[in-house]
């Protein structure tokens, strides 16, 4: 699958080059062909149902993101990102990873502040960051010849230094609490519990282009976790992903995805590359596919 993916993209690009006509831009996110046909040049990569085929297997997931705003405080918003049933299965390698729900919620305010309400009159101290939280529920990792791991829950408080109004920038750090269960597979039984009671730290970085054509994300976690078999141990993990939309069919984007992952628990370092197809994608609000008056 890993070798097939670049070949697929190359073929598609050849077909596209052979049929494409001259185009102009209607606005920043809408292109217009010479005969008036319109097409999207911006994409909302945070709202979609996508399938991915790559060197690490075949999978898919649902991504949703939205803003919650308030009429009486236009400078406050909640940036909500959700991933549902994000799974990848490599049948040839007996490897399966999935997360039932992953959420990231960031409260963006024009002026961050700390309030000390208990000590005399309430006091407000300026803080130059947004705050939020990250949640992973039921993350499953099934690897060949190893115990399966279920991340029952992982949660982190986030301090977002980027303070972006939208979803394009994130630069966050925070303490992490998590509870993982390792399962022996033959027979299936609990082998070990691992708990990090906010004894690990998280660094998250995300950058997304204004058009949504390219985005990159890095997530690093490091710290100590208590293991029911042998006590406290240092743990670290990291994951980086870059996605670039290279083609769209009927305004449904197809992208190249590459990334790498490291986990000290399994000692694995895995690099991957693949192709992602958005089966259903929310159209970027800046795209206008119908001409005014039509």
């Amino acid at each position: 699958m890993g070798t097939a993916a670049p070949a697929l993209v190359a073929s598609a690009l050849v077909v596209l080059a052979a049929t494409a006509g001259p185009a102009r831009a209607e606005n920043r996110c809408t292109g217009v062909t010479a005969d008036g046909g319109r097409f999207a040049t911006c994409f909302d990569v945070g709202n979609r149902l996508s399938l991915t085929a790559g060197t690490d297997g075949f999978g898919g997931g649902i991504a949703l993101r939205h803003l919650i705003r308030f009429d009486d405080d236009p400078d406050l918003s909640w940036k909500m990102e959700h991933a549902l049933i994000d799974a990848t299965h490599a049948g040839f390698a007996d490897r399966f990873t999935a997360v039932l729900y992953r959420g990231r919620y960031v409260r963006h305010a024009r002026d961050g502040h700390l309030v000390l309400p208990l000590f005399g009159n309430a006091r407000k101290v300026f803080l130059p960051f947004d705050i939020g939280a990250l949640v992973d529920v039921a993350a499953v990792r099934w690897q060949p010849d190893q115990a399966a791991t279920i991340g029952v829950i992982k949660t982190a408080a986030l301090i977002d230094l980027a303070r972006s109004r939208d979803f394009r920038y994130l630069l966050a750090v925070g303490p992490v609490a998590r509870w993982d269960v390792s399962l022996a597979r033959h027979p299936i039984a609990v082998a070990e519990h691992a708990v990090a009671p906010f004894t690990a730290g998280l660094f998250a970085w995300r950058l997304e282009s204004a058009s949504g054509l390219t985005w990159a994300e890095l997530r690093v976690e490091a710290g100590a976790a208590w293991h029911s078999r042998d006590g406290w141990r240092p743990d670290a993990s990291a994951e980086a992903t870059i996605e670039r939309i290279v083609l769209a069919i009927n305004d449904r984007p197809i992208s190249l995805v590459t990334g790498a992952r490291y986990d000290s628990l399994t000692g694995e370092s895995v690099a991957r590359i693949g192709v992602r197809i958005a089966i259903i994608q929310h159209r970027d609000q800046r795209v206008t596919l119908t001409a005014l008056g039509h």
Partner: protein, 390 residues
């Protein structure tokens, strides 16, 4: 500098000069506010009270530390701009102009720079996670062991429907706690309960000793349910998993606060569970349960919260386990006090202090005697909007 700013502005608009003091009166968020432009073009918010013959005034902007206007106001009510306003006429009619704080919605306040911040928190609508330090078995041996724990609740949501029979719905999703050294964990995937206050009494007694008088007896019944409960323990005899598939109980509220967010409640019902341990294997049971709950918000702004719970569970296994009978016993009591100590970007950080005791005979390797635990820790909550006004 802020005093100077006020004085200058007051001269410009012809209002009395006064320094920004901490004890300034605040405008009423529910009453109309005028926005009036002064001779320099600056906009002032003015709210007049015909009965008190006063007009409160304040700048229509946030101020910096020097008193300069720097930002638009947050959470101030929309004001009527450039409405007819005659200061001399008002003063001739006996109105007095008083410097004031800009209005804020219920649950919020402003500092001397008119910056807004939340001072009321509804911990019954939030997502939370926290960590605590838990000495265990302090009565048996205070120095024997110590452990840390985390707790979390991905969604805590309560909704009150008002009306003839006010009803409060309570929802919890993925709530639990994990202890280490030794390991134990509790998790509930979904919880729902509902309380009602009935309009008509179930029974009314009329007494005729002395003047006739009527005494109403209300039976405020409700429902309590949980699904997807999981309890894990690790003992010397191995791992134990208790799956509480589903539990349903009828509730009787013995006392309710006006908005039903505080209550004293008795409940009883049945559950279906399965338990697996490395001594007895897997066994299923129908479990009779009853409990007494006290849940109280101790102050108007939600800073102090108290919970007490005592429950008793009697699982009846479908088949006898070893030489034991088909019955087991689980008793538990738990009290928890949670107080908000500060808020970061209006998201509260609270101190939790809890104590509990447990006695059970269904866990291999755990003696059938009372064990007591106390813990203290911090919780960080997201969302937690201001408590409803009434």
């Amino acid at each position: 500098m802020s005093g100077l700013c006020a004085a200058l502005a007051a001269v410009a608009i012809g209002l009395p000069a006064s320094g920004f003091a901490d004890d300034l009166p605040a405008m009423d968020h529910d009453q109309p506010v005028l926005c009036v432009r002064d001779t320099q073009g600056l906009i002032w918010r003015i709210q007049c009270n015909a009965r008190a013959k006063t007009c409160l005034f304040a700048a229509n902007d946030e101020l910096d530390s020097t008193g300069e206007r720097v930002k638009p106001l947050e959470r101030a009510r929309t004001c009527e701009l450039d409405a007819p306003f005659d200061r001399h006429d008002l003063e001739a009619n006996g109105f007095k102009f008083v410097p004031a704080r800009v209005d804020v919605p219920w649950g919020w306040m402003r500092d001397e720079r008119e910056r807004v911040f939340q001072v009321s928190f509804d911990l019954k609508r939030r997502m939370y996670f926290g960590a605590a330090y838990t000495p265990v078995k302090v009565i048996d041996n205070p120095l024997a062991s110590k452990r840390t724990s985390i707790d979390f609740g991905l969604l805590v949501l309560e909704h009150l429907t008002k009306g003839k029979t006010p009803t409060r719905h309570r929802i919890r999703m993925i709530e639990g706690q994990v202890h280490l050294q030794p390991f134990s964990a509790e998790l509930v995937v979904a919880h729902y309960d509902v309380s009602r206050r009935f309009f008509d009494p179930l029974l009314r007694f009329t007494t005729f000793v002395g003047p006739p008088s009527r005494h109403d007896l209300y039976l405020n019944l409700g429902l309590w349910s949980e699904a997807g409960g999981l309890e894990l323990h690790k003992t010397e005899l191995g791992n134990t998993q208790l799956w509480r598939h589903a539990t349903a109980q009828a509730t009787l509220d013995l006392w309710q606060s006006a908005n039903l967010d505080s209550f004293l409640r008795a409940r009883a019902g049945m559950g279906f569970e399965g338990q697996h341990d490395e001594v007895n294997g897997y066994r299923s049971a129908l479990t009779a349960t009853w409990a007494l709950d006290l849940d109280m918000v101790l102050d108007r702004d939600g800073f102090h919260n108290l919970r007490f719970e005592i429950d008793h569970e009697v699982p009846r296994y479908f088949v006898p386990v070893g030489i034991q009978s088909q019955w087991s016993q689980r008793m538990r009591a738990h009290v928890q006090y949670e107080a908000i100590v500060l808020a970061i970007n209006d998201q509260p950080l609270s101190l939790k202090i809890a104590a509990g005791g447990e006695k059970r005979d269904d866990l291999p390797g755990v003696p059938d005697q009372w064990a007591f635990v106390i813990d203290a820790g911090l919780r960080f909550s997201l969302w937690a909007p201001p408590r409803p006004r009434s």
